[in-house]
């Protein structure tokens, strides 16, 4: 394979934000196409460089082809959209039914989430996986925060053992997901941001615990937040265009965060306010990047 062909394929690979198995197969397929095409041109009397130049010209621009392929692969079916939204619906149900205070129930949800995540991770990270991943990471992060509140003497154990391990897991998953597509990283992080906003706005006097009373007061609003997330996830999975996906997340998160900020029940302090602004920035910047005209 010549350098020029390798560069063309590398560019295409960088633009293809689809699962790794489909990406490898697509690159291999296009590589054989370009080889066949340039071979035929060479047989027609062109030199190798000229043949490859014409073959890639006939094939089309890397960006527009990659975009079309991504639209095909990244638009999930209705079934996938529903399955991706399922964890949000589950969490909303937990709040409405007050089962979120039941340890057995929470444990069952956690086990189910872990099983779904392991299955999805081992099967080329399908589009429905990412919201589940968000809920999988949530207890990992929350446990780390709770360990900080351990009695003196035990905190060092948390700092030395758990927190580096948790950070490694979070960083590894975020990196892998971003390699696939940073839009999926956002889909994964949105529920975590919403939960953190809720936790910080429900805490009193800078203490994260106890928060159950405040959460109990806002049950319907909480459940509503997760229903909005579920609907946004369905829109995200069903959308073909990347900027539609980004806007679906942005609108839903803005709706949740602003309704939370504006409600009298919520107690938005400096910490929660900062997280709220940062969360919106995290979502606004990628959405703005997607709205910029893409080279075709």
């Amino acid at each position: 394979m010549t350098n020029k062909l390798a560069n063309y394929l590398e560019n295409l690979k960088n633009c293809l934000r689809i699962d790794s198995a489909a990406k490898d197969e697509t690159i291999r397929e296009i590589s054989t196409h370009l080889e066949d095409s340039s071979q035929e041109l060479k047989e027609g009397g062109l030199n190798e460089e000229e043949a490859l130049r014409i073959a890639t010209l006939k094939f089309g621009s890397v960006q527009s082809i990659a975009q079309e392929i991504c639209e095909v692969h990244n638009q999930g079916s209705w079934w996938e959209a529903f399955f991706a939204a399922l964890p949000h619906f589950l969490v909303a149900t937990l709040f409405v039914s007050y089962y979120w205070q039941n340890t057995t129930c929470l444990l069952l949800v956690l086990i189910a989430t872990t099983c779904v995540v392991i299955y999805g991770w081992r099967h080329n990270q399908p589009v429905w996986l990412f919201p589940w991943l968000g809920y999988y990471l949530l207890p990992v992060i929350v446990t780390g925060i709770l360990l900080i509140y351990l009695p003196q003497g035990w905190t060092w154990l948390a700092a030395l053992v758990y927190i580096p391990l948790a950070l490694f897991i979070v960083a590894y998953i975020v990196r892998q997901t971003t390699n696939r597509d940073w839009l999926y990283t956002l889909l994964m992080l949105v529920p975590i941001l919403v939960v953190f906003i809720w936790l910080t706005s429900s805490s009193t006097g800078g203490q994260l615990l106890p928060i159950s009373a405040q959460l109990q007061e806002n049950t319907l609003l909480l459940a509503g937040s997760f229903i909005i997330l579920a609907l946004a996830t369905i829109a995200f999975i069903r959308a073909k265009q990347r900027w539609h996906k980004a806007v679906a997340l942005l609108i839903s998160a803005s709706l949740i965060l602003f309704s939370l900020a504006l409600t009298n029940r919520a107690n938005i302090g400096l910490g929660a306010g900062t997280i709220l602004i940062l969360s919106l920035l995290i979502l606004v910047i990628p959405a703005w990047m997607q709205l910029k005209p893409q080279p075709r």
Partner: protein
């Protein structure tokens, strides 16, 4: 030109299914066959074929498999499925009705 492109875009799936229905083919072979059968009438960027093929595969109208070509190289062959045959039959029937209706309208009335 735009009208021709729109017509082609609307009928890409039908053309691809029609070509693949006779025998399994790989991407480059499909381009060549389309060119041969249409005497070069259909001109488009070759890369746009793959999103269309992948869309058909996602819709389970075709399935693909890596096989050795007669020249001995591995190629991704697309083969029509039963669902694809049914879809093709419906599309062809619709196309014939549409084409007949268009012809009837544009031909001058004899009586």
């Amino acid at each position: 030109m735009d009208y021709k492109r729109e017509l082609l875009k609307g009928n890409t799936e039908c053309l691809l299914l029609c070509l693949i229905s006779s025998q399994p083919m790989y991407g480059y072979q499909i381009i060549k066959e389309l060119n041969r059968r249409s005497n070069g009438y259909f001109r488009f960027k070759e890369g746009t074929l793959y999103p269309a093929l992948h869309r058909l595969e996602k819709g389970k109208l075709v399935k693909s498999e890596w096989e050795k070509s007669p020249a001995g190289q591995e190629r991704r062959y697309y083969q029509i499925t039963e669902k694809g045959r049914q879809a093709l039959s419906q599309k062809l029937s619709l196309w014939e009705d549409f084409s007949t209706a268009i012809k009837t309208v544009i031909q001058p009335e004899t009586s």
